[in-house]
């Protein structure tokens, strides 16, 4: 007796769907966790060390770094880096809770993923509002 082939799902596509916008919220959170982690390792971490080296090294170095951060473009890039850190932070806490079997079902996992995106954006906006 041979098993009948399972019918293809209605939305079957014979190629990999690489469009990130088609991912459900937990999937999008996951890939952003990965991308933000890689970007934090490089170039954000060495850039931060460079700024700390200059700013804590001498009075002139501090003034130079202070001058750079007065420029709107530098501020925007810094807020982008802060968003990456905030997202990695909140998504990481969500993963720790999932490891403790908290909110593993589909509905709470989806809700917590959306909450992580909201918290990451909120934290970034808060810091941006205070520093602008």
């Amino acid at each position: 007796m041979s098993a009948a082939p399972t019918p293809r799902p209605k939305h079957y596509r014979p190629y990999y769907d690489l469009n990130l916008a088609h991912l459900p919220p937990p999937g999008l959170l996951s890939i952003f966790h990965r991308i933000s982690g890689a970007l934090l390792f490089f170039p954000i971490l060495p850039t931060l060390l460079c700024f700390m080296y200059l700013a804590l090294g001498s009075e002139e170095g501090f003034a130079r770094v202070h001058g750079w951060f007065a420029q709107p473009l530098v501020k925007l890039i810094a807020f982008g880096a802060i968003w990456l850190y905030a997202h990695h932070f909140f998504a990481g806490i969500r993963y720790l809770l999932l490891d403790l079997h908290w909110g593993v079902e589909k509905a709470p996992a989806r809700a917590s993923a959306l909450a992580v995106f909201a918290l990451g954006a909120l934290a970034t906006l808060l810091v941006a509002w205070r520093l602008w």
Partner: protein, 117 residues
């Protein structure tokens, strides 16, 4: 006679690394919250303010603990990414070595910023 069976699951360091990645994450998360609160409360201002903030022994040691945790955490994370996307062993190992060297460089640099000069 018991037949020799090759153990298919490798060197068994996976679980330890997985656990340490979580542990280092907790260390860094706590540091982030406490450091954020300290900076908001103390509000260091200018070169002298920031310099004295980062010369406090507690801040120095906590920051070094953060950097060490980050070193291990980033190592596991970057290695996972490289293992997932790069199948060519030579390129993967070369990049893993570069990541490891970069992380050791970051560690020495952070220590010299905090204690040097």
């Amino acid at each position: 006679m018991k037949a020799y069976r090759k153990n298919p699951v490798g060197a068994h360091y996976g679980l330890g690394e997985w656990l340490l990645q979580r542990l280092t994450a907790v260390v860094m998360a706590l540091f982030t919250i406490v450091m954020f609160a300290c900076i908001v409360l103390e509000a260091p201002h200018g070169y002298a303010g920031w310099k004295s903030f980062f010369t406090g022994t507690t801040v120095r040691l906590a920051t070094m603990l953060f950097v060490v945790a980050l070193l291990y955490h980033a190592w596991v994370g970057m290695r996972d990414i490289l293992m997932d996307y790069l199948r060519a062993t030579g390129i993967r190992l070369a990049l893993q070595a570069a990541v490891g060297l970069a992380l050791i460089f970051y560690l020495i640099w952070a220590a010299s910023i905090l204690w040097g000069r």
